[in-house]
């Protein structure tokens, strides 16, 4: 047995190591976005430098980044909505009937590499002339959000007392009314968690957006790769874009961190 004090110090060190591992790249990204390109690549990295807003000026004034961000927002919100609209009833049904195989199936779909779907989808959507539209991006990103929504919500629906649902049945509710009036309001914290996770996953998803977006619908994450040129890369601008892209999920996570932690760990909605 390690003495308690030693164990506590060990614990702190672990946390510190994790924080460094997680935060160092983030800090590097944010700092770099305020440096001129020369400083970004400097070795060893410079902690003291003259900050500049040039990268952001370039990003917003000289490129379509604002429009790309708007595209990202449309796609992420649309896909999040789609994920919740399809995932929540599915999770409710699965929890109620206690059959888990449909949920497992969606998990397989989620685990499978996206490249697997990409070609068939490209062909399919080309034929109906949808490639390059918001629709196709929202639909394909649904493949990511539906399982996320479903699996996040499952424990919340599972925790609903069955008598509550049965009571609603006795009170004259058909299934859609039970979902809408009883189950969904009671899993509201779960909906928030699910919505955020869906949003973050689709916001950051690159592959489908790269292949299926058009010039007008290009998302921020795809557009940011324009800064990686052949031979020369505009590191500063790239880091500014990356910082902007990282911002919304970060803000969302901070806003609801308490929900997020308790939601991810327990899913209980008792009380």
């Amino acid at each position: 047995m390690t003495p308690p004090a030693a164990r506590r110090i060990l614990g702190r060190l672990q946390v510190a190591a994790m924080l460094v591992a997680v935060l160092a790249p983030l800090a590097w990204m944010v700092l770099s976005s305020f440096k001129v390109s020369r400083d970004v690549m400097a070795l060893p990295p410079r902690l003291i430098f003259t900050p500049t807003l040039d990268n952001y000026r370039e990003l917003f004034l000289r490129t379509d980044f604002l429009h790309n961000t708007w595209n990202s927002l449309v796609v992420a919100l649309g896909a999040t909505l789609l994920g919740l609209v399809l995932g929540a009833p599915a999770a409710f049904a699965i929890a109620w009937h206690r059959t888990t195989w449909p949920a497992t199936l969606t998990l397989f779909a989620r685990m499978a590499p996206g490249t697997l779907f990409l070609l068939p989808w490209f062909i399919l959507f080309s034929q109906v002339d949808l490639v390059g539209t918001y629709t196709v991006l929202i639909l394909t990103h649904g493949a990511i959000t539906v399982p996320v929504a479903l699996w996040t919500l499952l424990p919340y629906f599972d925790a609903l007392p069955r008598a509550l649902i049965e009571s609603a049945q006795m009170d004259g509710c058909r299934p859609h009314a039970i979902l809408g009036r009883i189950a969904l309001p009671l899993v509201a914290p779960g909906l928030v968690v699910a919505a955020i996770l869906c949003f973050v996953f689709t916001w950051n998803y690159f592959l489908f957006a790269l292949a299926l977006s058009g010039f007008d619908t290009k998302t921020a994450i795809v557009a940011s790769f324009n800064f990686i040129g052949e031979g020369v890369t505009n590191w500063g601008a790239l880091m500014a874009a990356a910082t902007m892209i990282a911002l919304p999920p970060l803000v969302l996570a901070l806003l609801v961190q308490r929900h997020l932690v308790s939601g991810l760990s327990s899913g209980a909605v008792k009380g």
Binding site: A163, Q169, G172
Partner: protein, 347 residues
């Protein structure tokens, strides 16, 4: 026409037969209580009537209409659940009015009905609260109000009082009884508390392992139990059973005393006699033994006598004060006794 008619219903979970071909009718306005030990199928049967549980064979008819396969919301039945199942995100008023709202009744009419029900149940001052802010007894009232407001064909209750403390239970029991008298509605009530069953029921259905052991009024069950199981289940403290020999129209008690019996049974049997039918120092046949325990209850005193392995409990008037160790004879009227075969049937 019966308000409810159950015909040969069978419910299986996999291979386990939980309800075994069971039939009975309920008259309009009757208060029926299902009793039986844990796991005998009371809740299952109730839920089958409610439409919350499907079943493999038989028929359930409400007001003459077969409702097999109808969803709960198509049956016009209300149910009060054991743990109340109030909607936590709705106020008391919204909880009570929910079914009316679902039925598309306009807001004013709902509010009026909710108010009337709240008045009857004396929860008018709680209407704006959430269920979380209510005591157990108050929650129970809301749950009952939620059922009442709909004026359903049948009320179902699944152990509605089991989460309340003893005092509140007695109060609520009386209120449910008054409610029944006032509404005149058909009610089916599940409990494993025989006192609740006796006090509330017009007729009691005693269930055992998915079968009906006996149906009858409380006094029929008390006076003429069809089996040792019913005899031991109904009445408190429970009936005493002593091993006896029966031959040629006479019962031989453990002490050797013989009493006449109309029974044609012969051989070993159990003789049942209720604690309240034993007295100290009267006339007639007697069970003898040494007093091993005296439990004064105020109005009554419970006295246990031991004779070898056998224990016999008597409920005696509170003013007698027997002393442990004393050897006594507990006398009884042979007509009050009941004879059961080794298999537990009344003989």
């Amino acid at each position: 026409m019966p308000a409810l008619s159950i015909r040969n219903v069978v419910k299986r979970y996999g291979a386990a037969e939980v309800i075994r071909s069971l039939s009975f009718d309920v008259s309009p306005g009757e208060f029926i209580v299902f009793v039986g030990p844990s796991g005998c199928g009371k809740s299952t049967l109730l839920r089958m009537i409610a439409g919350l549980e499907d079943f493999q064979a038989g028929e359930v008819a409400i007001d003459g209409r077969v409702v097999n396969g109808l969803a709960p919301w198509q049956r016009d039945i209300a149910m009060v659940f054991q743990d109340y199942a109030l909607y936590p995100h709705m106020s008391v008023a919204a909880n009570i009015g929910f079914s009316l709202k679902m039925a598309g009744i306009d807001r004013k009419a709902v509010a009026a009905k909710v108010d009337r029900v709240a008045q009857v149940l004396q929860i008018g001052h709680l209407l704006d609260r959430k269920p979380k802010a209510l005591s157990g007894g108050q929650r129970q009232r809301v749950a009952i109000g939620r059922a009442m407001v709909r004026d359903p064909k049948i009320f179902l209750f699944d152990e509605p009082l089991s989460n309340l403390d003893a005092k509140l239970r007695v109060d609520m029991r009386a209120e449910i009884k008054q409610l029944h008298q006032r509404l005149g509605a058909t009610m089916i009530y599940v409990t494993h508390d025989q006192v609740e069953a006796m006090t509330l029921a017009d007729r009691i259905v005693v269930l055992k392992e998915g079968r009906i052991e006996q149906i009858g009024t409380p006094s029929e069950l008390y006076r003429a139990p069809a089996s040792r199981f019913v005899a031991s289940f109904i009445g408190s403290p429970a009936m005493n059973f002593v091993p006896v020999e029966v031959a040629d129209g006479a019962i031989t008690l453990p002490g050797g005393e013989r009493i006449p019996t109309p029974s044609a049974h012969a051989g070993r049997a159990s003789f049942g006699i209720r604690p309240e039918h034993l007295s100290l120092g009267g006339d007639g046949p007697a069970l003898r033994g040494t007093i091993s325990l005296v439990e004064p209850l105020g109005a009554d005193t419970l006295v246990t006598i031991a004779s070898g392995e056998e224990r016999v409990l008597a409920r005696l008037p509170g003013d007698v004060a027997p002393v442990p160790g004393e050897v006594v004879a507990l006398t009884f009227d042979p007509g009050r006794g009941a004879l059961f075969s080794v298999e537990g049937r009344r003989v």
